[in-house]
Symmetry: C2
Subunit: 366 residues, 2 copies
Amino acid sequence: MTELNRLQSAFKQSTYQLSNHGTRNTGVLKKAFEAVADETESDLYGTGQVIEEFQEKMAAFLGKEAAVFFPSGTMAQQIALRIWCDDKGLKKVAYHPLSHLEIHEEDGLKELHGIEAVYLTDPDRVVELKDVEALGQEVSAVLLELPQREIGGQLPSFETLEQISRHCRDEKIKLHLDGARLLEVLPYYEKSAAQICSLFDSVYISLYKGIGGIAGAILAGDEAFTKQSKVWKRRHGGDLISLYPYIVSADYYFGERSGKMGQYLEAAKQVAALFNSCYGISTLPKVPVSNMFHVRFAHPKEEIEPVIVELQQEAGIGITSYVKESGSGSCYFEVHMGDQYEEIPEDLIAEAFKSLDQKMIERFGK
Amino acid sequence: MTELNRLQSAFKQSTYQLSNHGTRNTGVLKKAFEAVADETESDLYGTGQVIEEFQEKMAAFLGKEAAVFFPSGTMAQQIALRIWCDDKGLKKVAYHPLSHLEIHEEDGLKELHGIEAVYLTDPDRVVELKDVEALGQEVSAVLLELPQREIGGQLPSFETLEQISRHCRDEKIKLHLDGARLLEVLPYYEKSAAQICSLFDSVYISLYKGIGGIAGAILAGDEAFTKQSKVWKRRHGGDLISLYPYIVSADYYFGERSGKMGQYLEAAKQVAALFNSCYGISTLPKVPVSNMFHVRFAHPKEEIEPVIVELQQEAGIGITSYVKESGSGSCYFEVHMGDQYEEIPEDLIAEAFKSLDQKMIERFGK
């Protein structure tokens, strides 16, 4: 067995798991449909009660005129940026160098839409007003990701968001929100989704991350924007005859979990503190501002993996199923707090982190 | 109530329905998952047992090296043509002027991929060898749709397919099969799917038409082609974290219905003959070659709708939920035979068509 397989298998076999809502299995779908009558009619190419009602609910939640259900955020966001580029007649946008569009979409924005991207900042920090000011008017749209996932889920202050929004309006640059994890940051900002979205011209949220649906995304904005987005959705091959398996599940888990984001944030703060109390381990950010953070080790992946395998086997708590290299002999993994944390007995958590600290000292202490 | 609503409502309220497999409701999904254990793991961005096994099964069925599950045929086919265009370095393809890509996809092929299309024939006939020969070498790929839906589901002969295939190989033109309804034509050709697909470089089949799944498509071809198609699938936003709601359903209904296509063809022949026995009604084609055909009236939509509303109310059999204008004062609707036909008592069918004939004579007879 490779070390990765060892890690995955020790993770899966753990009695408890530190993060997320549980295994992504077909039970997740079946649970969401338990109370749905068999006679409930399918949506039909973007029309019908099941899709229209959910879109209206999401539009109201986000404080936008209209919302459109998409199979994926990749599709929704490329389309949002394309609409804003066509609007201005300039195929150029700006985003963080570690944006999802830059590193996870096989250059779809360029290959399908011919849109060029400008980086707003250095990879290791969040976007600030000065970064957007430095653009001048040379882009059609700016995309901000809240929180910035690839740097542990960090956030600019709400004041910064307001300043960037004002600046973009003055400069006739459209502001798009990559809100894949927007719900997860509402408790930190102490704002409603609509208050944050009012600073943006268009907004995407994910329906399977924080709330744990099956897949799917919402793209919201004004009527003219969302109408155009439906034409592009068809062009992309996303206007499926039936999207209800995702919509019904999204609606169900939105109901179950959208109110629990404050609880996940508190759990993230607790668990990050526990990691930070261990020798040779730190979290990014030090104090989480959402349900997510990175756990970082100043040692190579190959040396850290066996420590975690051993811990998971002994403590009965799954910590992570992978460890990723992060350059110059260090490594990390992501944590996303969800429903599974509250199931772990408190004494087991305390023991596990005590044991992790000891193992790190034994292995790496001077 | 408008005439359209009257027609839809009379159709829905009928005890029996002539065509299709039944209402597209959430019961269709729930039935497919009844025997699936809750612990069955989700696919994960195109990997995992549930997607890989189904792809292998479809590749074997189609006689191709590999197959990829796509959320939609729109996405799969644009991608197939893009790959063949990039291969040859020429963004030009040829297809029937009533191809799905031309009339149902909001010009995605052009707007997303910059690919120009050349029409192979006149709109009212199927593609013949001479149409492909006339192209010379000026295209990267030819797309053939079997059967040609918009003209009632007509087919070229198998010999014509063989000749076109040979010609394209000689001329270094890739041949792509729009097999949205491929399963439905196998009984007519008396060939296996693999025998037909062997004439094509790439093949798409739908998973919700003849077999009645929820949504989804398969794109098949050789390893190099399918590998590239996965990169484009991600670019299009079709590489969802979980596609299993569609895959599990497709697999279930493939098992239930792929063996029933001969029965649907026979039913289509019977029902087409019944329509042709009515005054002022004809079908296209006269003798169906798949489960589908068009029912045509030489009178305007406004005059035909009330006849069908009345018939549906009296006979208790839903015939159609819509009638479409087809120019010069005529109209038509589509019929797709499925599981619902065998549920209708024979005497009721005979009575319904006798009544339809009488109504047509009363209304339009000289």
